[in-house]
């Protein structure tokens, strides 16, 4: 039993390490890349997204998304310029679990888009 448990642990760790290779943006399928937010630049959505960010994201990414320790800043050029709203939505849904970013699929989809509206307003 213990050997099986150890084997499973090693197998999962290997999977996680493999997933951590490469940039997450390269994994986003074209269809997701092109998705547009239904709340694009809507001030109400930005305000709601700010609340959601404070509740769910700020403890890792900082109160103003400036990043903390190994957790990246969301004000970076990559997030603000290179990543589309669809890219960020894909990341929130799937996470980047090998690197510690959990899936936020437990939040309803409209709330993910509100969160993205806020993140994109930080440029």
């Amino acid at each position: 039993m213990i050997r099986v448990f150890i084997f499973l642990m090693v197998a999962f760790a290997s999977c996680a390490a493999a997933e951590a290779d490469g940039s997450w943006m390269k994994k986003v399928p074209p269809r997701d890349h092109e998705r547009a937010s239904p709340f694009h630049e809507q001030s109400e959505a930005v305000a709601a997204g700010k609340r959601l960010f404070g509740a769910h994201c700020a403890s890792c990414h900082g109160e103003n998304a400036e990043g903390k320790k190994k957790k990246p800043a969301l004000t970076s050029e990559r997030v603000q310029q290179q990543a589309t709203e669809g890219d960020i939505h894909w990341l929130l849904v799937n996470g980047n679990m090998g690197r510690g970013m959990p899936s936020w699929a437990k939040l309803p989809d409209p709330q993910l888009w509100q969160l993205i509206a806020y993140i994109k307003s930080l440029h």
């Binding site: 996680a16 997933e19 709601a48 996470g95």
Partner: protein, 281 residues
């Protein structure tokens, strides 16, 4: 230390209102959730009881959650006792979100006279709750429990299915059970302003669970089955309160079980403790 954490840490909660069913949601890495869950029932002709567990759920990795339980129970006209411990681990083998998301669950428990009813397996039923605590404590259960958790999110709904297999370390046969749940927040869009009792703070659903017999007698015959609605509310400070009346569907089940829960999530536990010691947060 606990009070210190509760008073100082900003928090979050977006919990499913399930008591028995596990969804595929994992604890965020570094976060600690502290939860107390209780089940109140009257297994006629026995006495009313309350079984409670205190749970500490920690996100080790985004794909690995571990949880430790301290269990106890109190039975009317009998006694109040500590009933044992559980330690569980949940692993998410697929690193992306799919239509159906599997999670593997492994648990060890060492309990006696436990009445928390966190799962029903084999031929567990009303009769198990009729013994006096003094007698029931003589039978210690040391067992491994395995679950295949399947979860899906669709248009705000979460649908979760659990398939349960339990093996005692003694020479008892494998026992089986299941749990099903469906739940949804009452509002999918968050409001721009903070609120206490707006719909986004509530989630509601339904749970059904029961035994599936054992290796020698697989099926629904002589198994307990329960069904009930479930509701939770997340307070502005992040504390989540949950309630569910659950109803036994046959004579083998306890007629009604009322479940209550309160949970609180501490964000980035070790970062916060480090900060308290004067280090960088």
């Amino acid at each position: 230390m606990l009070l210190l954490l509760l008073s100082a840490v900003p928090l979050l909660a977006q919990e499913r209102p399930y008591f028995v069913t596990y969804s595929h949601d994992m604890e965020e890495p570094g976060n600690l959730e502290i939860e107390i869950m209780s089940a109140v029932g009257t297994p006629a002709p026995g006495s009313r009881f309350i079984g409670s567990s205190m749970e500490f759920e920690y996100g080790v990795k985004a794909w690995w959650t571990t949880e430790f339980y301290l269990n106890g129970q109190s039975t009317q006209n009998d006694s109040t006792i500590f009933t044992g411990i559980r330690w569980e681990n949940r692993f998410r083998p697929l690193m992306r979100e799919h239509w159906i998301n599997p999670v593997l669950y492994v648990e060890y428990e060492n309990t006696a006279a436990d009445k928390t009813i966190r799962e029903v397996v084999g031929h567990d039923g009303k009769a198990d709750f009729l013994e006096q605590n003094g007698e029931a404590r003589q039978e210690t259960e040391r067992e491994f429990e395995f679950k295949l958790i399947l979860g899906s999110n669709f248009k705000g709904w979460n649908i979760s299915e659990n398939i349960i297999a339990v093996k005692s370390i003694y020479n008892d046969p494998w026992e089986f059970g299941y749990a099903l749940g469906a739940a949804r927040p009452l509002a999918l869009v968050a409001g721009a302003k903070p609120c206490s009792f707006c719909r986004e703070k509530f989630a509601a659903g339904v749970e059904m669970y029961g035994g599936l017999g054992d290796r020698h007698s697989f099926g629904l015959n002589q198994t307990a089955q329960y069904l009930g609605p479930t509701l939770n509310w997340t307070a502005p400070n992040g504390t989540t309160l949950s309630f569910s009346p659950q109803f036994g569907l046959n004579d083998y089940s306890i007629p009604r079980i009322y479940r209550f829960g309160i949970s609180y999530e501490v964000n980035q536990l070790f970062g916060h403790l480090n900060f308290r010691r004067g280090g960088k947060p």
